[in-house]
């Protein structure tokens, strides 16, 4: 017998996400972004990966993820930039490696999302661990804790 929680979950799913094939379209788009974030991709590319029109795709993506494909792409790029910074890359190297085309825009965006500039983020993360281990991309330094990614 299913629980109240399961019943509610299934009820909501039937209302909010009634078409199973659309989930697959959104997942295909997400996989495309994850595979091509370092390239100059745009909405037409991602919509094509999902197999639907731009307008329909934009609406669909927001329905499933609560944000636009571009916002999602930016999140992925910043996540990968953090990983590169923690591996020793410079801000410029990280910027271009993940698909941004302007260091100043990247730095401003990074500061906005993480609470500090890229270089400061890497330095603080390297000082943080109290387990005597190498820092990881997910290390919660004082910047990352302010992040909304």
């Amino acid at each position: 017998m299913s629980s109240y929680y399961q019943q509610e979950l299934h009820r909501l799913r039937a209302i909010v996400f009634p078409h199973a094939h659309r989930r697959q379209q959104v997942l295909q788009a997400r996989q495309f972004i994850e595979a091509h974030y370092a390239e100059p991709i745009g909405l037409p590319d991602v919509a094509a990966a999902a197999g639907c029109s731009r307008f329909h795709f934009l609406r669909l993506f927001r329905q499933y993820y609560g944000r636009t494909p571009h916002q999602y792409l930016t999140t992925v790029r910043l996540r990968e930039a953090r990983r590169l910074l923690l591996a020793g890359a410079s801000a410029t190297e990280a910027c271009f490696a993940v698909g941004f085309d302007s260091v100043s825009s990247f730095t401003a965006l990074f500061r906005q999302q993480m609470g500090c500039p890229p270089r400061t983020f890497a330095v603080r993360a390297g000082q943080k661990s109290n387990f005597g281990e190498a820092p990881r991309p997910e290390a919660a330094d004082s910047c990352a804790q302010n992040a909304s990614l």
Partner: protein, 127 residues
């Protein structure tokens, strides 16, 4: 302001520590004796400086009522992120963990709900 600690209420801290470390795979971070109980936290092994999960003893009777109500309705008290929910589901099943809900698609994510043996349901989510 940031989030450094969140908690799950547990009926037995020692048993909870065993389940959350040996079964789920978290790592003990802080264990400070505080009389009858401890300030006992665990963290994810790959986020050891990340958010700590406090295994909070149920010393306040109304909290037990709240916990029981959630449990009886099958409502998870906490949600943990996993990379592959199906793989985690199979790994934990092999370890004897009971699931109230197998991996289930919901929007763009997939959810599963397990019994932590400490009075709570815990939801796993693959984004």
């Amino acid at each position: 302001m940031n989030i450094k600690v969140t908690s799950v209420m547990v009926t037995d801290q020692a048993r909870a520590l065993q389940f959350y470390t040996e079964v789920l795979g978290f790592v003990k971070k802080t264990d400070i004796p505080l009389g009858e109980h401890s300030w006992l936290t665990v963290v994810a092994p790959d986020e050891r400086d990340g958010v700590e999960l406090l295994l909070e003893p149920l010393g306040f009777a109304p909290a037990r009522t709240y916990q029981q109500a959630l449990f009886e309705a099958g409502i998870p008290l906490a949600t943990f992120n996993v990379a592959d929910v199906q793989r985690e589901y199979e790994r934990l099943l092999a370890l004897g963990v009971r699931f109230s809900m197998p991996p289930t698609p919901m929007g763009a994510v997939t959810l599963a709900v397990l019994d932590d043996t400490c009075g709570n349901y815990i939801q796993l989510v693959q984004v």
